[in-house]
């Protein structure tokens, strides 16, 4: 895949959020509508194309855990808010920042985690669980070894303790489990086909009335020396 090859050529071991999402999109995983821009003017233009409200994030291949650097501004409702946030991010001196990512705001829904890692014993492993701020606290995650059958994916969903969250919940319609299973199967396929991807986190995968959308994504590449 070109994105991965150029990252390799540049000596990078992680992809930017935007690059990671392009990889996901190639595997039919729905991602936010978004653009990488260089300055506040371009950010305002991009926001107009995407439609308000938008999110603005610092963008960069080696910029991980963005919230820790206050490199994210959410729910920007108009051009003024976008310009103000863009100015703040550009002046903040965030390490590893290469540009601004203007991103569609997805209405809040269930925040889930979908990921993959490579296990020394079993090879590529797909994970599914609670996302957002609960990921680290509750560790409510299930695993399956890639490639996945559709039934494996359905079993993973049922296996998390909070599986009732996937049913009708707080006025939200139930999650379409077959759609989500298809997404997990695709992550398994990605894991099998893209040997350069060492780790993937989609967190959160927002699942509301409109179906699942990858709101944030992280890809780490394998160590070229190993």
């Amino acid at each position: 895949m070109d994105i991965i090859e150029s990252a390799r050529a540049a000596g990078l071991t992680t992809l930017s959020e935007h690059q990671a999402k392009q990889v996901l999109a190639a595997y039919d995983i729905p991602v936010t509508d978004e653009r990488v821009v260089a300055d506040a003017d371009a950010a305002v233009v991009a926001a107009g194309e995407i439609g308000f409200p938008v999110a603005l994030k610092a963008s960069g291949a080696e910029l991980l855990h963005k919230t820790e650097h206050e490199a994210v501004a959410l729910g920007l409702k108009d051009a003024g808010a976008v310009r103000q946030a863009a100015d703040r991010l550009l002046k903040a001196g965030i390490p590893g920042m290469e540009g601004l990512l203007v991103q569609q705001m997805i209405p809040s829904g269930r925040e889930l985690l979908v990921g993959m890692t490579r296990d020394a014993q079993f090879g590529p492993v797909v994970a599914f669980g609670l996302g957002g701020v609960f990921t680290e606290v509750l560790k409510d995650v299930s695993f399956r070894i890639a490639p996945l059958t559709g039934q494996d994916a359905l079993d993973m969903m049922q296996e998390i303790r909070a599986h009732k969250l996937l049913d009708e919940f707080r006025g939200m319609p139930p999650v379409d489990r077959d759609v989500l299973a298809g997404l997990l199967v695709n992550v398994g396929r990605l894991a099998m086909e893209l040997g350069d991807v060492a780790e993937l986190d989609i967190n959160p995968l927002m699942v509301g009335a409109g179906g699942p959308v990858a709101v944030d994504a992280l890809i780490r590449l394998t160590d070229p020396k190993s």
């Binding site: 993959m116 090879g123 995650v141």
Partner: protein, 480 residues
């Protein structure tokens, strides 16, 4: 069958290095079992000094043998192993079992030695089990080079174990629980052949109906998973897993990698591969044996027949915890129960005959009724025992007489045969629970008739749950 494991379990000519006439050495004990008059192959002890070992002509070196052995067994000091492998390989031997320890399990020099041994084997296309193991056995050929004699009848459980003890020291347990093996392999360090190869052998072996594994870690985890996933669709696999490698070691930046802790991942792998996880060594074998005898359960609904409340309550409680159901019976079944049950009895599931003297209820009428009920997918029966204990009661023996007790046995015997017939004709699993064992005439007759009996009601329910999991897995993953 041309599997290396098959060749290792069915040798025609065995060169055995490490046995002597000193019964306190391991090798001597291990060779001795081949001399029970049943092993159909030829045995060639190799010994530098002795003329004869255990009554057999001994040879000073491998190259003195009158034929090329098809199996080499080594119970010797570790440093000498690579050389013996190399010499045998040059002669044309293609299989070995290396019992000797002091290899990869013990530090860098052992690891180097294992690598040297493996290179010698690869050079000659020689396949091996071990090192650092306690040998292998096959019960029908038969062939046994484990430390202990196998005196049980051949059975249908295939065993592969990282621990020698969990193979050979379980023989008394097998005897107590009436479990027979098809074959067993202590696989040690898995330098060459390992768990996955054993699974592939058991998959093909017509006598193996269920597979029991004791696993301490995964040397070839990916291959194991892929093979197990295929094999479990035709033969149940039960595994006892402990320990394993510590998590981590790689530079994780995301959450997924950090959370893939070892045991949880292994449990997921078991679920994905259709492997039933056992909690303890006795359960491993008791469960595997039960799975050789009964068909998968097609739904989660179990019927319980009992002669007493306590065991039914613990069984129902265990069922609920495991996600099984103890459903209401169909109206037609309840109507029939009203006709046949004693006035003290419970007319729904669990059906409790309340210590009735009506053997025909527990052994024939109720099993037939419940197994015919569409709401019931599998059956647990508690409370079957014979009149044996009367023989221990002097007053009864004296005043009523042993002949009366024997005629009671005969009457019950016919019903036991009916029970066996009913239990096998519905394509629904039937398991028994008893606190007795095969020393009881009735329990023995049912065990010999292919009804698995478990030590507790909870264990019996666990077995039904395993049969349900297997049925569910095969149905849902059939397209995979």
């Amino acid at each position: 069958m041309d599997s290396p494991i098959h060749r290792i379990l069915h040798p025609k000519a065995v060169a055995f290095v490490g046995a002597s006439n000193n019964i306190s050495t391991m090798g001597t004990a291990q060779m001795s079992h081949m001399l029970d008059g049943l092993f159909p192959g030829r045995i060639y002890p190799i010994h530098l000094k002795e003329e004869k070992v255990l009554g057999l002509k001994a040879y000073k070196k491998l190259t003195d043998l009158p034929e090329v052995p098809d199996l080499l067994v080594l119970v010797i000091r570790n440093e000498r192993v690579p050389e013996f492998i190399d010499v045998a390989g040059r002669m044309g031997t293609r299989c070995a079992v290396v019992i000797s320890g002091g290899f990869a399990e013990g530090g860098q020099s052992g690891m180097n030695l294992q690598e040297k041994m493996l290179q010698a084997a690869r050079k000659h296309d020689l396949r091996m089990v071990g090192p650092n193991c306690i040998g292998v056995l096959e019960t029908r050929y038969p062939f046994n080079i484990t430390y202990f004699p196998y005196t049980l009848k051949p059975g249908h459980v295939g065993v592969a174990s990282h621990s020698g003890t969990y193979l050979t020291h379980m023989f008394p347990v097998f005897k107590r629980l009436d479990i027979g093996l098809s074959a067993g392999l202590s696989i040690g360090n898995e330098a060459d052949l390992g768990m996955a190869d054993c699974l592939e052998y058991f998959e093909q072996d017509e006598h193996t109906r269920a597979i029991a594994l004791y696993i301490e870690g995964f040397k070839h985890g990916r291959k194991f998973f892929e093979v197990a996933r295929r094999v479990s669709k035709t033969k149940p696999i039960v595994a006892l897993y402990v320990g394993g490698t510590p998590e981590g070691g790689h530079a994780a930046v995301g959450h997924t990698a950090a959370m893939a802790a070892d045991d949880k991942l292994v449990q997921s792998m078991f679920d994905q591969a259709g492997i039933i996880r056992a909690d303890g060594a006795e359960e491993l074998y008791e469960m595997a044996n039960g799975l050789t005898l009964m068909p998968p359960m097609k739904g989660p609904n179990i019927g319980i027949i009992t002669n007493s409340g306590g065991p039914a309550v613990t069984a129902a409680d265990k069922a609920a915890k495991l996600g099984l159901k103890v459903p209401r019976l169909a109206q037609e079944t309840v109507d029939e129960l009203k006709k046949v049950m004693p006035h003290t009895g419970v007319l729904n599931n669990p059906v409790d005959v309340t210590f009735s003297d009506r053997h025909d209820l527990l052994l024939a009428i109720l099993p037939e009724l419940l197994l015919s009920d569409p709401n019931v997918d599998g059956l647990l029966v508690y409370g079957i025992f014979s009149a044996d204990f009367y023989l221990e009661v002097p007053a009864i023996k004296k005043s009523i007489g042993a002949d009366v007790i024997h005629s009671l046995h005969e009457m019950q015997g016919g019903l036991l045969d009916q029970f066996i017939e009913i239990a096998h004709k519905h394509d629904k699993p039937v398991v028994g629970s008893t606190f007795l064992d095969r020393s009881d005439t009735a329990v023995r007759r049912l065990i010999d008739g292919g009804i698995p009996f478990f030590r507790t009601p909870e264990q019996a329910v666990k077995a039904l749950h395993a049969l349900y999991s297997i049925g569910r897995y095969r149905t849902l993953q059939s397209g995979a």
